[in-house]
Symmetry: C2
Subunit: 210 residues, 2 copies
């Protein structure tokens, strides 16, 4: 293939991996894991099928590497967003709902990742571990928020963190299904109301009979 040679000539040999991963993201997203053929992925990357097997060994492993790459980027992004502190962290998540739910590729890849993970124990562990990392970061953010404002929520930090990420994913899903039903800021507003309600309940529990 002339195009293959042209593209390979431009980048170094080490770059083939990145080109392949990007092409894999495109094709896996659009066709699904089983629907994607290594031929098409290689074609989209401008390399040959042989390259895939020499670098990744198998189609399954290529997908796995892709998953890991995306999860790493995701975790970094969340942590960076959280660095601004509790309020900034919430706003960052709000933006993430809008952005990731608007991106077609991200939507399709997330769906494919989830379906594969539910079917394959090894991938499931990988994803669970990732979610756990995000929730640890969220829990740290909650702790910091308590320290700064003095508010107590009456539930363990971990449980609140689980609620924060669950609501996040739930709103992503909703946005993807019907974008108009999730206005910007909804995530933040909801979390604010939830925190307030939890704090109220906690205060009420301290005064039995009330």
């Amino acid at each position: 293939m002339a195009e293959a040679r042209r593209r390979r000539a431009r980048g170094g040999a080490a770059r083939t991996r990145e080109v392949l991963l990007q092409a894999a993201a495109e094709v896996f997203a659009e066709r699904g894991y089983d629907g994607a053929s290594v031929d098409e992925i290689a074609g989209a990357a401008g390399v040959s099928v042989g390259s895939i097997y020499s670098r990744f060994g198998s189609k399954r492993n290529l997908f796995r590497q892709l998953m890991t790459q995306y999860m790493e980027r995701d975790l970094i992004r969340v942590r960076d967003g959280f660095a601004a502190g509790p309020e900034g962290g919430l706003r960052a998540l709000d933006d993430l709902v809008q952005e990731t739910a608007t991106s077609r590729r991200q939507t399709l890849l997330d769906a494919e990742t989830w379906a594969s993970a539910m079917r394959t124990p090894a991938l499931r562990s990988l994803l669970a571990e990732h979610e756990n990392g995000v929730q640890s970061a969220a829990a740290a953010l909650v702790r910091r928020g308590r320290a700064e404002t003095g508010h107590e929520f009456g539930v363990p930090d971990d449980e609140l963190a689980v609620l924060l990420t669950s609501l996040f994913h739930g709103l992503c899903r909703q946005h993807r299904l019907d974008p108009g039903s999730v206005p910007p800021g909804l995530y933040t507003r909801t979390v604010t109301a939830l925190s307030r309600g939890l704090a109220e309940q906690a205060a009420g529990a301290d005064r039995p009979g009330h």
Copy 2:
């Protein structure tokens, strides 16, 4: 196939459809849409491949029929749960989180349905319409709750309904990834706190400066 004839002999010809749908649910769940072969589905149902094509016309249509069947059942179940009124309705959703997220088949079918829907516009509309039906029922429940308790939440009924279902799906996801992190009753407790917080905010907005 001896077994095929045996099973067909037991049920009427009209039953073939149901048997096929059940087998399809099993195989589509375990292998994914593309990974499932019509041969295996026919085998699991105890009929021949020809039956599938005479009754459903194509593999894609078989999956579509399966989707519709499950969505109808789901909607009926939700509406039945809501019939008990606001408190009972919440408890029903809480039970649904535990049950559907524990069922392997439901988990895998939901994942496959979602992935297919995101990729295929026709299926996406189908799923969006279903979700809309559930949310209408939820909005009616919210209206009823307001009427009975007199509480105002400061947000439109539809928006609150969207939050209820989004949180539901988010917690289902979380439960499926890490069952231990979603104790029974978490959904109800969270919604209670959220309602309380929203009502507080609404009351606060009526008294600017507070």
